[in-house]
């Protein structure tokens, strides 16, 4: 068995709002191994970004985080003082954000911001830190790296800035990188380049990578394992192969139905869509979260919370009352299996 880098057990994030408590993340569990890419997919507001911020302990101050387990490299990072946590952040665990245009400080040069992180965590000279910054800028495909160090963020394009963010995150050689929709704000042509770059670097440096995205095409190309989130819960988890070829949860099936596949999807046939809207997560409700949008909903779906349960293959789990066989049959009729 390979080396475990991150272990998340029963993570919850609650946010007090005007009329009650918003249960944004509800009992999420997953793990990431060395050299593994875990993709967390789901639509906006399903709690995937908050999950990643919860791991980094960067949640907004009013959000309440709870978990049974939160371990990085075997060390408990749930109940550590902020001083120790700040030693970990940027050092063994780095994060890449959605908005490259605003994620770099406009007042300082690229070099300043890259050198700063290494000097914070390692006892190195300025020259050494600069050398590493140049090395990494070249690694992320930036030409004339040395001269870029004296440039300011506003002088770079969005794609270049995101490359800088990636290089900056790599400065300390982290074991785990969390990338929260790193390409959403970029041009479509740049998106693929950045993602493939991330996947390449992840292999080269043998890091764990959590990629948060709603782009299933990307997931299919670079994920080892996939966790599908819906309304604060993981509704299906498994290897990329399992989730894409044998989607079990009705929501996953619905998501896959929405992607056209060249050569496979018939011309003129309408693409799938999932009718309805995501339920409000304010206040407790004891039911399948997907029930009111699910084409296979039964009366028993609203009787109580549904537990995540194993599917037929090892490592594949889903959160539905239907048996794996029924789900497989549903997938067939929808044409996604």
């Amino acid at each position: 068995m390979s080396e475990r880098i991150l272990e998340v057990g029963n993570l919850t994030v609650d946010i007090p709002v005007g009329n009650g408590m918003l249960h944004a993340v509800q009992g999420v569990s997953f793990h990431v191994d060395k050299g593994e890419t875990l993709c967390i997919v789901g639509e906006s507001g399903c709690g995937k970004s908050l999950t990643s911020l919860a791991i980094m302990d960067l949640l907004p101050s009013k959000a309440i985080r709870n978990a049974n387990t939160l371990e990085l490299d075997g060390e408990d990072i749930l109940n550590v003082p902020e001083r120790r946590m700040s030693d970990i952040r940027g050092n063994t665990m780095g994060m890449i954000f959605q908005e490259p245009m605003t994620s770099l400080n406009p007042a300082f040069t690229i070099g300043n911001q890259m050198v700063e992180i290494l000097k914070r965590h390692r006892n190195v000279s300025n020259a050494e830190a600069r050398d590493r910054a140049i090395y990494l800028l070249e690694k992320v495909g930036i030409t004339a790296a040395a001269s870029r160090l004296s440039q300011y963020p506003h002088q770079l394009s969005g794609g270049l800035r995101q490359r800088v963010m990636i290089a900056m995150t790599l400065m300390c050689g982290p074991d785990l990188i969390i990338a929260d929709e790193p390409t959403t704000a970029l041009d479509v042509t740049i998106q693929a380049q950045i993602l493939l770059l991330l996947a390449e670097l992840q292999r080269e440096f043998e890091m764990g990578l959590i990629l948060i995205t709603h782009d299933l095409g990307v997931v299919a190309r670079i994920a080892d394992r996939v966790a599908v989130m819906y309304a604060g819960e993981v509704v299906e988890e498994g290897t990329a192969n399992q989730v894409f070829n044998r989607p079990t949860h009705p929501y996953t099936q619905g998501l896959l139905e929405c992607i056209p596949i060249p050569g496979k999807t018939e011309r003129g046939k309408p693409l799938g869509s999932i009718p309805g809207i995501v339920p409000s997560l304010v206040g407790r409700f004891e039911a399948c979260h997907f029930a009111d949008r699910c084409p296979f909903a039964m009366d028993s779906c609203t009787d109580g919370n549904i537990a995540l349960r194993p599917a037929n293959e090892a490592g594949h789990a889903y959160r539905c009352l239907l048996s794996p066989e029924q789900c497989a049959a549903n997938a067939k009729t929808k044409g996604v299996a």
Binding site: S86, R89, G90, F97, L104, N105, E116, Y152, Q155
Partner: protein, 305 residues
């Protein structure tokens, strides 16, 4: 950067020209300046004489340009009342007012910036409410009344501070506070708002995700960006303070430009009034120009483009 500076400078010069025109035309507000100068008992020939001597018989534009030309060479005219060169008097008084303004600004900034930062770091807490209360009260206190109240308390009742004069640094404490507190609310509010905005920005989240120490996040990454609009405001407010010093200097009998202005107004000493308005306006223009340059230095988006 150079283009930016040149652009700003040319606007500044144009503004200064306009201001000089306005200042010049002030003498015609009272009607005939020669008549005003000669006094009520003057005969018609006296008035004509004065008109010729002071050049009031020339076309207005000729008068303006000769006045402007003199002003540019440092000759701001001759005081009717003090019978001396205006520029001489102004340059002996100017340092006093500048000192007062600088003290007041220092007082205001050392009070308002930390207060604004702390309030932004802990929004909606007790300290935030206290800061806002100070701001609200400060904005409602007329400075001349606040000055008198301080005189009653610290000068008359407690006898801690001298009431009038400008001989020692002790003389400058009350006037600086009276002049400076009035701009504190504006600077504090702007610092707080800027800090709040910056603290919730993506790059602060990045800085925290890098594991940087909270002090580095706050002072390097946040304050540097939040302070940029404060620089412009401080420059503008410093200009306002110099204008407002007329009230404070009069109350505390400080021998500065403000008191000179008040005296000149009472004496109807037109050239002196004109010169003071012109000097203060130009000082303000220079100040905002410098603030623009400082902003460009602080904000690379302006500097490198």
């Amino acid at each position: 950067m150079l283009i930016y500076a040149v652009k700003r400078l040319s606007v500044a010069i144009l503004v200064a020209m306009t201001v000089s025109l306005i200042t010049f035309s002030m003498i015609y507000l009272s009607g005939d300046p020669a008549m005003a100068l000669a006094g009520e008992s003057a005969s018609q020939s006296d008035i004509e004489n004065i008109r010729r001597v002071y050049g009031y018989d020339q076309p207005i534009m000729v008068q303006y340009f000769s006045w402007l030309g003199n002003a540019l060479t440092g000759n701001l005219g001759h005081s009717h009342y003090l019978k001396t060169e205006v520029s001489e008097v102004i340059f002996t008084r100017l340092p006093v007012t500048m000192t007062l303004g600088a003290c007041a600004l220092t007082f205001a900034l050392t009070l308002s910036i930390p207060l604004g930062v702390v309030a932004a770091m802990r929004p909606n807490t007790l300290i935030d409410r206290i800061a806002l209360t100070i701001a609200v009260i400060g904005q409602a206190l007329p400075s001349f009344w606040f000055a008198l109240m301080m005189i009653i308390l610290f000068g008359v009742t407690l006898r801690w501070l001298p009431i009038t004069g400008s001989d020692s640094w002790m003389n400058f404490i009350m006037p600086s506070v009276a002049l400076g507190y009035y701009i504190t609310p504006a600077v504090m509010r702007l610092t707080r708002a800027g800090m709040l905005e910056v603290l919730s920005s993506d790059y602060i989240r990045t800085a925290r995700a890098k594991g940087l120490r909270p002090s580095v996040v706050l002072f390097k990454h946040a304050l540097r960006n939040a302070i940029i609009p404060v620089v412009s405001l401080a420059a503008v407010q410093f200009g306002f303070m110099l204008g407002g010093s007329i009230v404070i200097e009069t109350i505390f009998a400080i021998n500065g430009l403000g008191q000179l202005a008040w005296e000149s107004i009472l004496r109807a000493d037109l050239p002196m009034m004109q010169a003071i308005v012109l000097v203060l306006s130009c000082f303000y223009i220079v100040l905002t120009f410098l603030a623009d340059l400082l902003n460009a230095f602080l904000d690379p988006r302006i500097r490198v483009s």
